[in-house]
Amino acid sequence: MSETAGMRIGVITFPGTLDDVDAARAVRYAGAEPVALWHGDHDLRGVDAVVVPGGFSYGDYLRAGAIASLAPIMTEVIDGARRGLPVLGICNGFQILCEAGLLPGALVRNAGLHFVCRDQRLRVESAATAWTSRYTAGDEIVVPLKSGEGRYVADAATLGELEAEGRVVFRYTGGNPNGAMSDIAGVASADGRVVGLMPHPEHAIDALTGPSTDGLGLFTSVLTAAAMA
C-alpha cells in the first residue's frame, strides 16, 4: 500500500450531517487520512478524494439534498469532479450528488412510506469505478441501509443508458427495500469517478459495530484510484 501512503480524503460536514464521523473512521480504517471539509468553505484543502456523507443536511427541507447541493463547498466538489476527482455520496450524500447534477436520477420517498433500517444484501454490479475496484462484479455484500427517501427513480432513457454503460454499481438483492427502479442501490458517473449509493458502507467496516466488514472495500478502492489520478 506504499503508493497510497499519505492519501488524504475529505469528508464534508453540512449542518445536519450525521455520518461524517463514521465516514472519517472508514477512511482511517482504509489507511488514509480523513480531512474535515466545511460546507461554507470554498476550499477542498487539497484532498485526493471526497466523501459526501449521510444525514439530513439542512434538515432535508425543501427536498432531500436540494439545499446542500447549492452550498459553497459543492461548487468546488463539482469543479473537482469535472477534473476526475473521486467523489462518493452515501445516502444523503447520494441525494446531494443527484441534486447537484453529478449523478443522474433522483431519490424519492420509500414505497412503504416508512424509514427503513436493515442489514441489506447488495450485488456489486460494476468493479470498474474509482470506488469499487477492490470488488469483483457479482460479489454480494451486506451493508446497512437506513433511509426514508431511498427509492431510486429515473426516466426510461436514463435507466437504459445506465444499464448499457454499466453504470449501475450496486443492486439490492434478497428483496427490494424501498421500491427502487431496477433494484438500483447505487450508480456511477460516466467516467466512473463519482459514485452514489443509498446503503452505508461506512457502517460495515468492523464486525463489532456493523453486520460485516464488506463496506471497507469502497474506501480502499479509492486509494488506488486516487493514486493513479
Partner: protein
C-alpha cells in the same frame, strides 16, 4: 379585558399592587385556592398575569412533584455513601451522572411524554425525544444513544392503529434526524393503556468528567443568553392544562395554537454541535435546557441554583409570533431552545460559535446582586419574585394512601386453576401461539424504523437484551442500558413488582456482559388523587429504593408521570426502570442468540411454578391475578456477577435473559436471533409446562463452547448460581424434549408476522 387584535398593556407589578381585588383565572390554570393564597402571601400582593403563569406551570404536578415529593425522598434516605461513590450528580439535576472510569462520565435519564403523544402521536413522541436529549446536553454531555419504552392499548384496537404508527414514526423521525442510535426500548400492549399510551424516552450521554456542567447562574454581571429556536405560541399550557385558553383570560382563543409542541430535529442537531463546541471552548458558566414550562422554568431554576438574582428583558427574546404577552413568552414550550450563563468577556466568542452553526443567540438578561428574579417588558416590571419560591418551594401534598380491598380479590384470583396444556403437541402449539402474541413477537416492525448504526459505536441494539454503546474508541470502554417493567406484576404487588422490573433491567445489562452501575426511572401511574394509586406509587417507590440498596446501585434520577387514566380507570402501575452498566471493552459484549453449532445450552437460576401475572396467563386466558414471581435480589446479584465475569473472560458465546414468556420464549428468541436451532431437554423433576412458561426471576439462558461446559457449570455452582445443562445448539429447528420439533421457518413466520399484519408491511 382588552381585545386580542392589539397587544394588551402589561399587567405590571405596580398595577397588581394597586388592584388587589382584580379576579384572576388561577383555577383555570390548575392552581387550588390555597395555592393561590400562598402566592399572594409570598409576594405580599396579587401576582401579575406573568407571575401567575410562572407559578401555575412551575407548581404543576409535572414540574413540582408535589404529590410524589414526600415519597421520593426515600430514595435519598436509602442511598448509602458506598452507592454514592461513583455518582457525580444525582436527583435534582437535569440528569444523573455516573463516573464510569478512565476519566469518562455518563449521564442518562428517562422521561415521559404520554399525554401529548395520545393527542398528537407524531409530534408528541418526537418532542419527547427532543426534550430528553436537551436534558442530557444540559449536563455538558454529548448525547450518544436513545431508547424508547412504549406502551399501547390492545394491538388490534382501532385507536392503537392510530397512535402506534404515529408514535413510532415520531420517535424515528426526530431521533434519526438527530443522528442518535436507538439501541433499545420496549413495546408493550395491554388493555390498561387504551386511551392512555405511555411514551417514555431515554437518552444516554457521555463526557469527560471535567466537562460536567450544572445548571446555575452565578457571578453578578454574567449574561443570560437564550439560544436555539425562536419563541412562539406553540406548547403554551402544555404543562398545566393541556388545552388551555390563552392566558389573557379574554377567552376568544384567537391566538391559540396546539398545546402539543412541534419539533424541528434539524435545529436540535445543530444545537447539539453548537453546545458541544461552546462547552469545549470553556464559554459556558451554567446551562439549562428549555422544556416543560419554558423560560419560566429555565430562569427560575438557574436563578435559584445560583448565588444572586437575575434580570430578564422579555423584549430581547426573539419571537415567531406577534403580539405575545409576557405570560405567553414565559410559558411557551417552543422546542430546541437552551439558556446559558456566560461571562461578559466571553459573549463575543459565544456569539461567534453560534454564528458558525447558524444558531440564533440573544442576550436576554444578566445575573444581578440581590435575590430577586425581575422580568421586564416594554420597560415595565412584570415579574418580581424570589426565584426559589417558583422553582423549589412549591406545594407539598401528603395525599391519602390506601390499599383498596380490590387488591385482596386480585391476589386471591390465582392462576393455578387455569387449564394448562400437557400433551407435547399442545405445548408445541402454545409455544407458537405465545411467540406470535403481540407482547412477545418480533419488534422489528418498530425498531427497523430507527437508525441503530449512526456514529458507529453501537455494539448491540434491538433485539439484544441491552443496548451496548462504545464511548472510547481507543480502549473499547462502553456502556450498556436496558429498560424494563412488567406492569402486571406491579399491579399484583407494587413493592415486589417494582423490584422485579429493577431485577429484569439489571439482569439484561448483566447478560450483555456489563456490570450494572446506576438506575433511572420513569414512574407512570394514575391519578394521585386516588388513594389506591398513591398506595401503588408509594409501594413501588419503596420497593425500588430498597431493591437498589440491596443491589448496591444508586438511583441517579427519574421522572414521575401521574394522571395516566381514562375517566376513573387508571393505567396499570408502570414504573419503568432503566439500568446503566459499564463494560470495560465492548468487544466482550455478549449477544443473545444461538450461533455456534455444538455449543452447550445452560439454564441458570431456579424455576418454580410462578405464573401469576405471566404472559401465558395474559395471552391464553386473558387472566391477571395471583401473586407475581418471588424476587431474590441476592440471587440476582450472584447471577449478574457470574454473567459479567464470564463475559469478560470470553466464555459466553450467547446470553439471554429469561423473563416474559418464560424459558419457551427465551429459546424461541435465541434460536431466531442467532439463526441457529437447538435440541434441549427440559430440566428433570419439573412439570414441562412450568419449565416452559413460568416467569420465575433470576434466570438466564447462556451458551458456552462444548469444551468449556463442565468448567462453566462448576464455576456457576461455586458462584452460588444453580445451572443445568439443557442441550446443544444446532440444526434448523427448535427441538424440546418430546415435543414435535418446530422448524425455524415456521417459528420465524409466527414471530415475525404479527406486527406487519397489524400495522402494514414497512417495505412494500
Amino acid at each position: 379585558m382588552v381585545p386580542d387584535t392589539v397587544t394588551p398593556p402589561a399587567d405590571t407589578v405596580e398595577h397588581a399592587a394597586a388592584s388587589p381585588d382584580q379576579p384572576q383565572p388561577y383555577r383555570e390554570l390548575g392552581l387550588k385556592d390555597d395555592e393561590y393564597a400562598r402566592i399572594r402571601e409570598i409576594l405580599g400582593r396579587r401576582p401579575t398575569d406573568a407571575e401567575l403563569a410562572m407559578y401555575s406551570v412551575m407548581w404543576s404536578e409535572h414540574c413540582s412533584y408535589k404529590s410524589s415529593k414526600v415519597h421520593l425522598k426515600y430514595f435519598g434516605e436509602t442511598t448509602t455513601e458506598a452507592m454514592r461513590e461513583k455518582m457525580l450528580a444525582g436527583i435534582g439535576e437535569n440528569a444523573g451522572v455516573v463516573d464510569v472510569g478512565d476519566g469518562w462520565a455518563v449521564t442518562f435519564k428517562v422521561e415521559s411524554h404520554n399525554h401529548p403523544s395520545y393527542v398528537e402521536p407524531y409530534q408528541g413522541a418526537a418532542t419527547g425525544v427532543g426534550g430528553i436529549v436537551r436534558d442530557i446536553m444540559a449536563m455538558g454531555a454529548r448525547p450518544i444513544a436513545v431508547a424508547d419504552p412504549l406502551r399501547f392499548g390492545p394491538a388490534d384496537a382501532p385507536d392503537t392503529a392510530r397512535v402506534l404508527p404515529g408514535v413510532v414514526s415520531g420517535v424515528g423521525g426526530y431521533g434519526n434526524c438527530l443522528g442518535l442510535p436507538n439501541v433499545g426500548g420496549e413495546v408493550v400492549f395491554d388493555e390498561g393503556y387504551a386511551g392512555n399510551p405511555l411514551v417514555n424516552a431515554l437518552c444516554v450521554g457521555s463526557m469527560r468528567v471535567e466537562d460536567l456542567h450544572l445548571a446555575f447562574a452565578s457571578g453578578t454581571g454574567n449574561k443570560i443568553i437564550l439560544f436555539g429556536a425562536r419563541t412562539g405560541l406553540d406548547g403554551i399550557g402544555g404543562v398545566s392544562v393541556l388545552a388551555s385558553e390563552t392566558f389573557d383570560g379574554s377567552g376568544t382563543g384567537q391566538k391559540k395554537l396546539p398545546s402539543v409542541q412541534v419539533g424541528d430535529p434539524f435545529t436540535e442537531k445543530v444545537l447539539i454541535e453548537c453546545c458541544l463546541e461552546l462547552f469545549h471552548a470553556g464559554l459556558v458558566v451554567g446551562i439549562q435546557d428549555l422544556g416543560g414550562a419554558g423560560l419560566s422554568c429555565a430562569t427560575s431554576e438557574l436563578a435559584s441554583a445560583g448565588d444572586g438574582g437575575m434580570h430578564i428583558d422579555l423584549d430581547a427574546v426573539p419571537l415567531r409570533a406577534t403580539g405575545m404577552t409576557p405570560a405567553e413568552i414565559l410559558s411557551s414550550e417552543s422546542q430546541e431552545r437552551m439558556c446559558a450563563v456566560v461571562r461578559p468577556e466571553d459573549v463575543d466568542a459565544f456569539m461567534a460559535v453560534c454564528r458558525k452553526w447558524d444558531t440564533l443567540a440573544t442576550v436576554i438578561g444578566e445575573v444581578t446582586d440581590g435575590d430577586r428574579l425581575v422580568i421586564t417588558w416594554h420597560g415595565e416590571t412584570v415579574v418580581d419574585v424570589p426565584p426559589r419560591t417558583v422553582a423549589h418551594d412549591g406545594p407539598v401534598y401528603h395525599r391519602p394512601v390506601e390499599r383498596s380491598a380490590t387488591q385482596d380479590a386480585l391476589i386471591a384470583d390465582s392462576p393455578d386453576a387455569l387449564p394448562r396444556p400437557a400433551a407435547p403437541s399442545e405445548l408445541r402449539d402454545e409455544i407458537l401461539r405465545m411467540a406470535a402474541s403481540p407482547n412477545l413477537c418480533s419488534r422489528a416492525w418498530v425498531t427497523d424504523q430507527y437508525d441503530r448504526y449512526v456514529r458507529g459505536n453501537t455494539a448491540s441494539a434491538q433485539p439484544a437484551d441491552a443496548g451496548v454503546v462504545r464511548i472510547d474508541e481507543s480502549t473499547g470502554r462502553g456502556i450498556a442500558v436496558a429498560t424494563d417493567c412488567n406492569a402486571r406484576f406491579v399491579a399484583l404487588d407494587p413493592y415486589t413488582g417494582a423490584q422485579l422490573a429493577l431485577a429484569e433491567a439489571y439482569r439484561n445489562v448483566a447478560t450483555s456482559g456489563a456490570v450494572p452501575a446506576a438506575v433511572t426511572n420513569c414512574l407512570n401511574f394514575g391519578s394521585p388523587e386516588d388513594p389506591h394509586v398513591m398506595w401503588q406509587f408509594s409501594e413501588a417507590v419503596r420497593g425500588l429504593a430498597d431493591g437498589c440498596a440491596a443491589l448496591g446501585i444508586p438511583v441517579t434520577g427519574g421522572n414521575v408521570s401521574f394522571y395516566n387514566q381514562t375517566g376513573d380507570r387508571a393505567i396499570l402501575p408502570t414504573p419503568v426502570i432503566g439500568v446503566l452498566g459499564v463494560i470495560d471493552d465492548v468487544a466482550r459484549r455478549v449477544r443473545s442468540g444461538f450461533t455456534g453449532e455444538g455449543d452447550v445450552v445452560v439454564l441458570l437460576g431456579t424455576t418454580a411454578d410462578e405464573l401469576g401475572g405471566s404472559e401465558w396467563a395474559h395471552v391464553v386466558h386473558g387472566h391477571l391475578g395471583g401473586r407475581p414471581p418471588a424476587v431474590d435480589l441476592a440471587a440476582e446479584q450472584r447471577l449478574g456477577a457470574l454473567l459479567a465475569a464470564a463475559a469478560a473472560d470470553g466464555v459466553l458465546t450467547g446470553s439471554h435473559d429469561v423473563s416474559d414468556g418464560g424459558l419457551a420464549q427465551a429459546l424461541v428468541e435465541a434460536s431466531l436471533v442467532g439463526g441457529c436451532g437447538a435440541a434441549v431437554e427440559l430440566p428433570a423433576g419439573l412439570d414441562p409446562f412450568v419449565a416452559l412458561f413460568s416467569e420465575s426471576a433470576g434466570r438466564a439462558l447462556v451458551t458456552v463452547a462444548a469444551s468449556d461446559a463442565d468448567a462453566f457449570l462448576v464455576r456457576a455452582a461455586e458462584a452460588g448460581v444453580p445451572g443445568v445443562r439443557l442441550g446443544t445448539v444446532g440444526g434448523d429447528s427448535l427441538a424440546i424434549t418430546d415435543l414435535p420439533a418446530i422448524p425455524l421457518g415456521e417459528l420465524r413466520a409466527a414471530w415475525e408476522g404479527t406486527l406487519p399484519a397489524l400495522f402494514g408491511s414497512a417495505t412494500d
